[in-house]
Amino acid sequence: MNSLTIVVCSLLYLGLLFGIAFWAERRERTLVARQKQSLLNNPYIYALSLAVYCTAWTFYGSVGQAATQGINFLSVYIGPTLAAPLWWIVLRKIIRICKIHRITSIADFISARYGKNRGLGILVTVICVAGIIPYISIQLKATAVSFALLSGQSSATHAPSFLTDQAFYMTLLLGAFTILFGTRKLEATERHEGLVTAIAFESLVKLIAFLSVGLYVTFGLFDGPGDIFERASQQPALQASLTFGPGHSSADWFWYTLLSIPAILFLPRQFQVAVVENVEERHLNKAMWLFPLYLFLITLFVLPVAFGGKLWFGNTGLDADGYVLSLPLMTGQKGLALLAYIGGLSAATSMIIVETTALSVMISNNVVMPWLVSRPAWQLKLGNQSSRFVVYTRRLAILTLLLISYGYYRDVSDRFSLVSVGMISFAAVAQFSPAIIGGICWKNGAQAGARLGLIVGTAIWFYTLIVPTLIPVLLPESLLTDGPFGLSFLKPQALFGLNSLTPIAHSVFWSLFFNVGCYVWGSINRPQTALDHNQAILFVDVFQFNRPSENTAIWKGKVSVDALRKLLITFFGPEQSQQTLERFARRNRLIDRQSYADPGLVTFTETMLAGAIGTASARILVSSIAKEDPITVDEIIRILKTSQELMTVNKELERKSNELQQLTQQLSETNERLKQMDQQKDEFLSTITHEIRTPITSIRALTEILHDNDDVDTATRQQFLGTVIKESERLTRLINQVLDLERFESGRMRLHLEPLLLRDVIKDAVEATAQLASEKYVTVQFLANCPPTPVVADRDRLMQVLINLLSNAIKFCEPEKGHIIVRLIVEGATCKVSVCDNGAGIDPALHSLIFEKFYQVQGDHRKPKGSGLGLAITKKIIELHNGSIDVDSQPGHGSVFTFQLPLSTG
């Protein structure tokens, strides 16, 4: 493909990035006025920005690695995926700490945790720069190689001078981008809206590009994944790479996976996007599964592409790192090849941009500024230009870093693959994990331990991973084979005789082993300074202190408010400083004209400065203007205890108030229930009186008529007297039922339990209602050949239940057509009795109501009425026998009442 086309496309793509970043920055500025949400306040953008983890290494390198070593490439994606659920604990804590203390980078974090120590900040910065520059340089290399591949040049030859090398110009362009969007603001803790938006966009581009190539290779060149793996398995070399055979040790898997867990958090670029640019802690919730999903998608087609390349090209010596590009290119898909190239470009550029931004902040805030602010003469010279100086330092740092990386790429990086350099960087960054993890979990973790661990760990890393790369150019071959001075136990790749691991695993094992050891040993044996201890408590217990910077100010001394104001003005300008101070005064209800600052204000000023120039520098600045009294550990503990006690009291109060609220609610609920019960009782009474009055009315009226009229004919007299008798019986029944029900409800009902045969009880009940049934010409059928069914029950009560159900059934059947079937079935340890009629049926909506007292089905008025208590009592009796009763019915289709009782086991 024509070089010019590719250059134009690359420029267009970078131009698009500039455009997106500009747009996002402008949008943010207008948003502040309109009080709308920032674009970054969105878990999806956050998760996408985390995908800056996937560099050119992922894009090109994992295919190369998969082609030579099979599934080994997966380990660095499995690590972050496995560890993602832990982010809620670890990452959230780190984010909270950084927000409160305005921490700007991983170097600042370690320096701040261990007594705001300047030396530690420098040390971490140096480790980062040393570990990351090769990493940046291979991104440049990947871009240059992909350019060469696409344009058809031989990738082996370098442009003779950097002036004719496109990679050089791309480096400059990236520098310009990073300077423009990475150093807009002085306060490094503020979010880089444009930068992060562009990064999220790049993550999308590389994902789409890689998936497109993957789909093309899998389904375009081959017949789906099945086809590729089928063919690959026929080639012995490829088949071997799919299994854990010789050459794949599970120890390597373990160490690679382990290594990628701290890398995802502590690589400067990851720390930048995950912590510094984080808008809301709760975005972690989504990112915890979105990011692993991204990793899954971007690794999905690695194996198909790798095998596809191997199968397609055979052993033509084509570098497998370039398959993503060469496969579409060689098969005539120029557009797709260009897309793949842009994807690779986006993977490389996003890494370079974020990494250099993060490193530049480290260099300015942890190396240059502490040095500068401890020199009053320099400070004087700069005067109000300090903030500009900080920004220029960062810009210079960005350019320097990029140029060094470029130089490294031209002169050194040729000798390594993408993957090996990446792993070396991972191993360097892993050295921070003891100091960081220990720092947020272990209050006794001390400065001396952190420094010792970092130095020793990094030294071992250097000796085991970097030194061998200098052989044989700078160092003799014998170092590797015989060890220094012939001491074979010091061989760089087999320390103390450990020679069964690959170089990376070997290095990680020993460096972390000694790093952790030294950290713990140093922390235990060297006492913490007061400041060290103070910071330890603030970090470890960060969730217990809401705003430690103001409420638990640990500072003792004298400094005028004016001096602090001047200090702020130096870095933030008069306007912003005034606003900040006023905001602080409002929040803490301070009287404006104090001449001496209280500890809260001093700490506040220091934290503000820390956000701009780093923790250590801020410390130096503030102590330079304040007459500070030495503060003892006891005093710190006292101050912290007071604040903790305050919080405890607060919590206690809150708890009490909650309890009270609960109690009130309970009380009102009880009251409500009592009211309800009272209402129910009223209703019961009024229904009862109504039910009693009705038969009495008939009895009284009819007897009065008979009494006053001697001339009533015999037939009428007989009818009236018969009615009086029936109504008297009804009254008696009603009173008995009310008394029954009362006994059930008050729990005074005693059952006279005895062993019975249920079959016989049913037979008796059917006989007892035979008269009633035959009066209506209703047939009742009970199959007497059913099992005898032994139960333990109260015979009279059971009869009551059966007679009630039977007479109900008879009552609701039409005369002459009625047919009632009683069934008895045994099911496991229970027996079921059902009374089935072909009467009027009951609306399902009423099924639960009919078992309530005084509920009467409003039916044909010609039917004789009951008391409305029968089913309520029936239900109580069955429940008292540990059974249950149920109804199944539809209007017009009859009803089935079924009750269950437990069988007697004896």
Binding site: H690, P695, I696, T697, S698, L702, I705, E727
Partner: protein
């Protein structure tokens, strides 16, 4: 002689009321629920209605309100006969337009006397 409509869902109460009214020489119509009473009303325009309150389909108070608010029933007198005997129930009965509220159980002699009084007024 007057037309008397008696509505109650208790057949045994109907039995005694029917006897009493017939004995006084009135023409008696029997309704076993509110709906039946409503239909009989339309045809017979009774001079006296004896209504129970709690009846299926249409209750006595509704019937009462209907009669008192409809043309053609200006002459109709209404007695409510109910087992509900509380102040509030009696008040509601009169509010619905009843001329007399009699609580069950009642004295037959008193009831007959009151009916005659109402009809002659």
């Amino acid at each position: 002689m007057a037309n008397v409509l008696i509505a109650d869902d208790e057949p045994n109460i109907l039995l005694s009321l029917e006897f009493l009214m017939k004995k006084e020489g009135h023409k008696v119509f029997i309704a076993r629920d509110g709906g039946e009473a409503y239909e009989l009303l339309q045809h017979h325009k009774p001079d006296l209605l004896m209504l129970d309150i709690m009846m299926p389909r249409m209750n006595g108070l509704e019937l009462c309100k209907y009669v008192k608010s409809t043309d053609g029933f200006q002459h109709s007198k209404i007695i409510i006969l109910s087992a509900k005997g509380k102040e509030i129930d009696i008040q509601r009965g009169y509010e619905s337009g009843a001329d007399l509220y009699v609580a069950k159980p009642f004295s037959t002699r008193d009831l007959v006397a009151k009916v005659n009084q109402l009809l002659s007024a």
